[in-house]
Symmetry: C2
Subunit: 531 residues, 2 copies
């Protein structure tokens, strides 16, 4: 069963290995485990619903509790401490667009706020019900999870918006296709959520971001139904899909999503190589993408991430062998950077792409190591969100943040983000910070930074230290011209930084757009744009 | 000097060859040349300007005449007959964003309508001044035509929005880069115009549409300056660039454009092959793009276009040799379809891409013919707009239209468009109609149809027959789920069909957006959205 206060299914458990615990104790000092609240104690704190009865709405306390929080570190601390603060007044599970329409109209008539809910995996506060006098209905798309149509000529699949990643791929694979959108939240996050938050997946280099995959669909808005027809490309005015992507529930509920699918690949491989240092690794990444080497993913870890990953993974014999090999090839062990890359397609394509990648790697002083580490990456590719559990049990907290900047700004931005996090770890505390580049573009790169820190003696101090670090890193991001989010969206947590990137004119235009579709302001208030 | 009543520089002249004239006479009957108005006679019809004097505004009659019309067939008939109807009251040539700001504010204060003007190459009535009591200022970006900045790390170039295609590429080539955006209007059309109308170029398969190239810039709107920062990718809410692209002057004046550039390619080749019939040619095109064969352009001509191109090109010996070769290879000569394709990149890439393309061609029953015809295509790639002159001298008119549909709809849509044009040629008249697919997408393809018809005895009847054909083809396009424009934009001519694709909700949202930026409705009224 899905955890009520953490990530994933409770059957999946990945405790930290002893070498990992020792590594963190050395880096941060001994952990300080905080006590977890019990489900019963939290259930007792769920207030009575303020909603009038409705046949499509469930007001059961546990259902409401299980839809009250996402997966930000702030949400985690709330769930673990039991201090949820606000619960939705009810949860609806419509089975089709018509029922969504009914619920939306009902919310308008009854003065109820509505929060669209996909997989509940937001790490930015998208689905957290706001406090206030108006009752809040959370609308889960969980029952709209089927492949509704497949146009094989045009490679277009229509899904219910609540279809989670594994169900998308399972239903497509049966017919020989793949969507290829693999965010780290893939096990739980949904197509509709990906569209609403402009998501990006690990293999965006081959398959594109959700922007390239989302071909059309249906959105129920307070003003009426917005149908987005499928047209491969058009010069007929601004593209309405672009208004829906990233709208984060502010203009309507996405109910059906049409996506561009590909043939299931005949071959796919992931490889790992090592570069001698960070500047040469960044230069290699830029060169691979600007020279259009047709890879399906590239991830370049900085030295601290490389060291941390190799230690936490716990493959001690494999890593020892790797180090012997790198030493034999004359690669420095300190400061080395891991480069994980993938090729996807038919065999001829993969062979060509691998040859090209190796050519650039060699020319830049890199050492390739074959497929063993690549296979390990592939096995563990969706396991990162579980890491929080293993750390938590040892008394540590972990969070991640990401941005995207032009190549000219990458090195300084990485340094500034990491420094901001370290500086704000708190009196007498340290943060263990590491970074990778992934989602490469010819223009620049995403920057994905992880920070681990030791809990304080109580939840509130821990939360305040987390927020001080996140705030300082967010300030550093916008000061360096980065987006406040490359793949997680804005939600409530990132909204204060949005104006840096959109400008006052841009924010006003977005506000006008949302008011056009939702004149009463019932939809997900405070999300994306601060109220 | 640039022609005042036609396409391009008057030094460029491509009269129809005798074989072409004979071909058309057989297809359509003898041409009926219509008399051209003289520049003097039209100048005499330019009324006095209604604008108050302003140091940045030119009210000279010839300047106003030369900015009154674009390049649609309707514009052509107006220019050739001398019946321009409406002229702008003045033309301004600002040299920087600050002067654009001054002019925009002045128009607001004085109650003047403003039409942004790039290269004046619109084929949909974008820049035609509307009749009415309010005076009209045309704002030409012609003096804002320089490369202002180049970030080589991030491969970003900043240009004045009025920079025309050849100037873009010349200034980039000096530094080793290429934009790679080559619409047929390339000789005259501008970066700002490409953004405002969501343009696409011949090599969009490699370089992307303007959507993929436009990285940010500056827009002066009545509400203030909208700065679009460069961020490679973002999940932070709807992308403001997407509101600007396709806005067709309705929300502001684009003054600076930042574009993503590529290294100048080390190798580039264009090749021609032939497929035995139209269904197999369409299937090949779909397969090439869905299997991701890395070509930089593909154009698939239907049998009528193939026959027409080979005849009009006038390379009689080359074509005779081609026919002998195709016969020897067992290819049928009737019904054959020409496939023009290109590879662009370094030598290894081009070799790989060519090998792959030939493999798919052979498997589908195609015959490759080497580079001779590909070189001819390359030499003449921007010559199509001049064709109207050669035909006109012989008493024929020509127009083109385009759409884009999902692959499942391609064959029926082509047939319906062609049939609509033939059916509406007029009593006792015929239309010579042919089509190609270019701008391929995994989801579908653009459809580009050319129609040639004989002029009537007078301009007005000719115009009415043209509009009857265009209207019927536009109806056929939207009935088949196509966009009313894949690359030319909406302007005034296509506006009646826009609601089919945007829906009432979508149109209302766009109208709200434009009203937000331009509350007085001074900017390009009637363009994109009907008033």
């Amino acid at each position: 069963m899905r955890r009520w206060n953490g990530w994933g299914d409770s059957a999946n458990d990945y405790p930290l290995k002893p070498a990992g615990v020792a590594f963190l104790q050395q880096a941060l000092g001994p952990g300080r485990p905080l006590p977890d609240a019990s489900l019963e104690s939290v259930l007792a704190r769920v207030p009575a619903s303020r909603l009038a009865p409705h046949p499509l709405i469930d007001t059961d306390a546990e259902t409401r509790l299980r839809h009250a929080r996402g997966q930000s570190l702030g949400d985690w601390l709330a769930m673990r401490s039991g201090d949820f603060r606000v619960f939705p007044d009810g949860v609806a599970f419509p089975e089709n667009s018509e029922q969504v329409r009914v619920l939306l109209d009902w919310c308008q008539a009854e003065g109820v706020r509505l929060i669209p809910y996909g997989g509940g995996t937001s790490v930015a506060g998208h689905i957290n019900p706001p406090a206030g006098e108006q009752p809040v209905l959370t609308l889960s798309l969980a029952k709209m999870n089927r492949l509704m149509a497949l146009d094989e000529d045009s490679r277009l699949a229509t899904f219910g918006a609540g279809t989670p990643g594994p169900e998308v791929e399972r239903q497509l694979a049966e017919r020989g296709y793949r969507l290829g959108h693999y965010p780290q939240s893939w096990e739980l996050s949904t197509l509709g959520g990906w569209v609403a938050s402009r998501s990006s997946g690990q293999q965006s280099l081959a398959y594109g971001r959700i922007e390239q995959l989302f071909a059309g669909g249906r959105v129920e808005t307070p003003r009426g139904t917005l149908e987005l027809p499928t047209i491969p490309a058009s010069s007929a005015g601004p593209d309405l899909r672009e208004l829906v992507m990233g709208s984060e529930g502010r203009l309507g509920v996405i109910t059906e999503v049409k996506v561009r699918v590909s043939a299931a690949p005949r071959d796919e491989q992931f490889h790992v190589a090592f570069m001698p240092d960070w500047p040469s690794a960044v230069a290699l990444a830029r060169r691979l993408v600007q020279e259009r080497v047709p890879l399906s993913m590239v991830r370049v870890s900085n030295p601290e991430e490389t060291r941390t990953q190799l230690t936490l993974a716990g493959h001690e014999r494999l890593v020892a062998a790797l180090h012997r090999y790198l030493a034999w090839r004359g690669q420095p062990l300190d400061g080395k950077c891991m480069v994980t890359f993938g090729v996807t397609g038919d065999r001829r394509h993969c062979r060509h792409a691998l040859t090209e990648a190796r050519r650039y790697l060699r020319a830049a002083g890199g050492v390739t190591t074959g497929r063993a580490l690549g296979r390990k990456w592939q096995e563990a590719r969706f396991r990162s969100p579980y890491l929080r559990h293993g750390l938590w049990e040892q008394g540590y907290a972990v969070d991640t943040l990401e941005t995207c900047v032009d190549w000219a700004r990458v090195p300084q931005t990485v340094a500034a983000i990491e420094q901001a996090l370290r500086d704000q770890a708190g009196e007498g505390e340290r943060a263990h910070v590491f970074t990778h580049l992934s989602h490469l573009y010819a223009q620049g790169s995403s920057i994905y930074t992880t920070y681990v820190f030791r809990c304080s003696d109580d939840y509130e101090t821990t939360r305040q230290r987390w927020w001080a670090m996140k705030r300082a890193a967010s300030d550093a991001i916008v000061e360096h011209g980065g987006t406040i989010s490359h793949q997680h969206g804005v939600g409530r947590d990132h909204a204060p930084w949005l104006e840096h990137e959109k400008g006052a004119q841009g924010l006003a235009a977005l506000r006008g757009l949302f008011t056009h579709f939702d004149p009463q302001g019932r939809l997900n208030p405070g999300c994306l744009l601060e109220d």
